[in-house]
Symmetry: C2
Subunit: 271 residues, 2 copies
Amino acid sequence: MIISDNRPIGVFDSGVGGLTVLKELQNLMPYENIIYFGDTARVPYGGKSAPVIQRYSQEILDFLLMQNVKMIVIACNTASALALNKLKTLTSLPVVGVIDPGVRAAVKAVKGQKIGVIGTKGTIASFAYQSRLERLCSKIKVIAQACPLLVPIVEENMHNTDLARLTIDTYLKDFKTLQVDTLILACTHYPLLKPLINEYFDKKITLVDSAQETAIEVKELLAARRLVADTEKIGTERFFVSDSPDIFREIAVKFLGRELAGECLHHSWTD
Amino acid sequence: MIISDNRPIGVFDSGVGGLTVLKELQNLMPYENIIYFGDTARVPYGGKSAPVIQRYSQEILDFLLMQNVKMIVIACNTASALALNKLKTLTSLPVVGVIDPGVRAAVKAVKGQKIGVIGTKGTIASFAYQSRLERLCSKIKVIAQACPLLVPIVEENMHNTDLARLTIDTYLKDFKTLQVDTLILACTHYPLLKPLINEYFDKKITLVDSAQETAIEVKELLAARRLVADTEKIGTERFFVSDSPDIFREIAVKFLGRELAGECLHHSWTD
């Protein structure tokens, strides 16, 4: 007899960017139920300090635990960098961040000895990617660059503008000069810039999309722990956000390429 | 006998941008004591909804009232647009936002009949500037533009880059085409871009800096209500922030052109 576990996977992000992770989870495991929390009243996390990110992440964890989830996916790079270890001490459920999957995929993909990482200021300053990469392979040289303008460019739909191209050039030219062959997109917004980044490097660089890698890791983990849902059914999705559900619904389309199918509810931190 | 009121002026902003208002207040009234609150754990306000901004503003008001302030200055355009009326109903102290001063100055300055406004998405979408300008002078045509990339450009010290120039061109070219002669800088970060914007318009446009205008309004109000501090003494400054005081101290230098003189303390919303 195959036992299935239909409790939802709890996914959270500072806002809407984590939907790129939700999308990959659904691509790979369409039968899993997912609850997504977007902390849109306090977004972005990228420039905030570790104690603040840890407190916010812990509050979201508590909320997701109340929803009877079977595991937690931190779909936000900044929260993964600054709060993953803390959350692991607070629950017996499996907690997966987006950093380790990206790191492992990059080490597998790299041809030379240089790996690039781009992310928010918080992610890059935390040194989370750099230290993990160097621990995994001491020969690897890591070049990291914070790119604070890329998130608003994605959110403003400016992908296809000269401004986006100049921003990419400003942030990424060192990777070109140094002939980096593998670049980790260490922010959930960046997968939407893949075409532009590929164009910039004439497709001569491997882009590691943490969202895809994280979905693979989650699938393996669920199988290993016998937590897989009933694969005969299509999973459901449900969303909670701390600011307006309407605004979230609207922006979500850009990240998912479709309307939200499940309900989207407001959760206020002071209620 | 001249009676002086040495209670501090309470100034608040979503983060560090409101320091441009503090600076102008001190330029004009060096004898006033000021308490500044920067909501750095929840910054930015620009993309968040009205109910969220109102709740945050009310929490800050309550905090400032506990500090025994004599008046409130909302140094944030988004909070002025979305929460000024609400706060006025919650206290008997005078509450001044940055919008009305900027609007009045723009109407005085305009030569033709077109006034431009640039600000965050929240400020522009609130229609606060547009409706006030049109109410004050029905002949005036208002052209408003949200410029979400300008705040990160200021915060990243990118003022003097080609990227900043291209961003300015992207957002402001319609003002040039339409021959707007007066432009309201409706975000506290924008005064730092004055040289660049002046260069873009060959100095042929009047830039209305809400920070300066607000300081003038505050000075008049304090005099009219007999709330002026002892003018023989140099005023003090004190800062409270909801994220790291160290990060705030560091970024503050860019906005003030000097180190913070007063202490900077952490205030956590969940303490």
